[in-house]
Every structure is written in C-alpha cells, then in structure tokens.
Symmetry: C2
C-alpha cells in the first residue's frame, strides 16, 4: 500500500461514527453515507492539521421544519432509545445510536489538501445534494448494535416524483442502497455494493413518511448479505422489499492507489 | 371506470411519444419518463382545451453546454440514424427515434385543472428536478422499434456522488429504472416497475459518459422482462448489468379511481 493510502487509512480508522461513539469503519458502498463522521476528539485532532477543515458540517439527520409530525414522532422514539435511565435514575447509553449524515464524503475526513485528486469541492453526496429542506430526501438512521439491525425514517419530498404523486423507483432504490450500505459498513467496514435486488410491492405517495428496516442475513468472507423492508410507519403496508450484497474492499482499491 | 378515468385515458392514448411519431402509450413505471410526450398535432388539440397548458415545455434530452465531446459524439451518431437518405437522396425515417424528456409527468398532458388532485405544481420528475445543467442527470434516450432495443447516453454530474469521485449506486439504479421503464412502456403501454435486480461490476467515475443498452427478454401476459447493461462508451468496460420486470397496469389503478 502506498504512503498516500496508508495515511488515508490512518485517518479513516481513527474515525468514529455516532453521536455516542461505538467504533465504526469508513463506508465505501455505492450508497455512501460513505464516510460516517467523527467524534469531537477526532475533530480536535483535525484542526491541528495544516489544511482547511470544516469544524461543524451540517448534520442532515437532525430534525428541520419540513419534517412531518409522524417523522418527528418516530425520530423522538428512536432518539429516546439512544440514552436511557437505569434503576438509580442515571442516564446511560441505550440500545440505539443515531447515524449523522453529511453532504460530503471524503473531504471533511482529510481536510482536502492531501487527497485533492479525489476531493472536487463541488461534489455532493447524491441523497444530500438538494439544499431545500423537505424537497427531496429527508431521513434519519438509527443502528442497534446488539440486534444487528438498522432503521431509517424517510420522508419523500416533491422532487422525487416518478409516477404522478408517487416516489420514483430510483429514489426508493437510492434509499435502500444508503440504508443497507450504512448498515453493512457498520458490520463489516469498507464495502462496495455488489448487488441490489428490489421488489416493488406498493407505490409510496410523495410527502409520506415510511419506515425502512435493515437486517443482517449473513456474512461469508468478504460478503455481507443484508435484507431491507420499506413499510408504512405502522408496519401494516409493505411498500418495497430488497436484498443487498456488499463486498468488503480495500479503500486504496477504489482510490486507484 | 369513472368519467374522470375515461377522460384521462382518452388524453393518454391520444399521445404520441417521439419527435417522429411512432405510436406510444403512457408510462407508469416507477422510473417515469412517465408520460412520454406528444407530437405537434396533439399539442394543437390541447391548446383548444379550456385549461392552461404549456405549449413548449423544455426538452431535457436536447444537447446543452455541459455535454462532453463524447456525449455529443454519441448523440450525433444516434440522431443521424433517426432520419436517413434513401437511394434517390430523399430523407426518410431511420431506424431510431429520440425520446424527449420533460421535468413533469401528468401535468402537461392534461393541462392541470381536471386532475388537480394529482398535479401538485411543485412536483418534479426525480431525474429532472435539478435545474443546473450538467450537475446531475444528463441523458438522452433513443429507441429502435424494429430491433426492440433502447439506448441511453448518460453523463453523470457532480451531485450524484456516492463513493468519493464515483456515481452513487442509487443514481445508477435510477437511470436503469428510467431507461428500462421507458423501453417497457414503448413495448407494452402503461407499466409499473415490479423488480430491479442490479449487479454493480465496476464503479462509474463522476463526470464520465456511459452507454446504457436495454433489450427485451420476454413478454408473458402482463409481464415485460427487460435487460440492461451500462458500459463505457466503447463497450469495453462493463460497469453495471441489470434485469427489470414491469407489470402492465390500468392507469386508473394508480390514480385511485
């Protein structure tokens, strides 16, 4: 591995993913929440480095004014499971972790100078590239380490239209790739999407909030198999179900090192 | 079928799809080029109708300044196959047809007033919802009726990022759904995407132009089976391959009539 790749790896494997910090590795799946971000100690280290770095990138998985009451209800439910009280009334870490979400991938991990070949400043993560809140993808993911499950609450905006008044199949595929990809990364480290097999059961009306549930099916060598269901928030209506296969990769492979 | 649905059907089945007019039916797949637009005679009829109607919606499949030289070369090649000269030097229809592409679906087929329930003016087709040319999906589709084939030239903009410097798997899925959906609609009339099975072989660098080729595998009753390959423009590198299943539907089913 080249010096460049080694430096990148040091940066990446130094990162932690969640607001409360279970260790996590970087995310190279096609979906790309990609580089799941960093706890503050890592940020403090980064500012000492001799290149530009955004200290406080916007976390898109936090509530905004476009979120529906149903979106907020589910967000509050899972958030309340991230920190719970024990018998003595003390707060302690709960079973779920919220996954932050940013509109860039590699840049704020590296600061930009060293890997400038791969950091075109105008690039944006596909699911976070539209600035207007509520117009496109509004979502927040939570991961349950013990149960090896991931959930995502997803509110589909008016710019995601396919059939009149309903969400485009490609937008649904995008969210499935994003959720299963983040989950696979949490479980297996850097991965790439190898296969998505999606069955569309019932169209999703634009503006609605749906629940996405991702679960681990199997791990075999470099392969991580994940299943995902998209349902109404009460679970009564199945909109979409999918399987996904991710391959563990060496980061330097993708970066051409 | 209700009066509303019958009126819609008359509008839809009166539509024709291409710049030169082979008959085509409306497109209800998840992907939604959805309502493939209309030849001028239909437009002339529409302006006589007592509701607002955009006479000249922008056709996004025409070249713009963001298109690369390779994108233009392929566009010119397939365009040149839409009209050819016979032995007497007269121009006549060629084997290919360009498929126009708009940023709305139902609205400009109906004028908006009658089906206002389904026509929220702010809705936009997912692949055409970003206004900045070159930033997201730049593509043009061509259909060969005799060979039952469809090709799409696709240039991926900087807002489609997944892994650093590469196209998001969801954006690739979106284009596959769009191309195979348009193709299935051309072959079978109104359809919905039932399954997409996508194998990602090699990541697509942002900014590059790729060739997408869609071919009919089979038709069985309501089912239309399509295959799609995404390759480098010279065909040497396979990026993605997929199968898609579409189900023929009754338009009124989706619209809840």
């Amino acid at each position: 591995m080249s010096k460049m790749a080694r430096s990148l790896f040091r940066l990446l494997t130094g990162c932690h993913c969640f607001t409360s910090p279970p260790p996590v590795k970087p995310h190279l799946c096609h979906s790309s929440t990609w580089l799941l971000p960093f706890r503050s100690s890592f940020v403090r280290t980064m500012v000492a480095l001799p290149f530009s770095f955004s200290l406080k990138p916007r976390d898109f998985s936090l509530p905004n004014s476009s979120w529906s009451a149903e979106m907020m209800r589910l967000y509050d439910f899972y958030s309340s499971q991230c920190e719970v009280e024990n018998e003595s009334g003390e707060k302690q870490r709960g079973p779920w972790r919220r996954v932050p979400s940013y509109n860039r991938t590699l840049k704020y991990a590296t600061g930009g100078a060293y890997l400038s070949k791969f950091i075109q400043s105008k690039n944006r993560l596909f699911t976070r590239s539209i600035k207007t809140t509520g117009a496109a993808f509004e979502y927040a993911m939570f991961i349950n380490k013990e149960e090896q499950r991931c959930v995502c609450i997803f509110q589909a905006g008016h710019l995601l239209e396919g059939p009149p008044g309903h969400v485009h199949g490609g937008a649904i595929a995008t969210m499935i790739d994003s959720v299963t990809g983040a989950h696979a990364t949490f479980l297996s480290g850097p991965v790439m999407t190898a296969n998505l097999n999606i069955n569309y059961r019932s169209p999703i009306p634009l503006g609605s909030t749906v629940l996405m549930e991702s679960s681990l099916d199997n791990k075999e060598g470099r392969k991580t198999f994940i299943s995902c269901k998209v349902t109404s928030t009460d679970g009564a209506k199945l909109h979409t179900e999918a399987t996904a296969l991710f391959l563990s990769i060496n980061v330097s492979h993708l970066l051409g090192m």
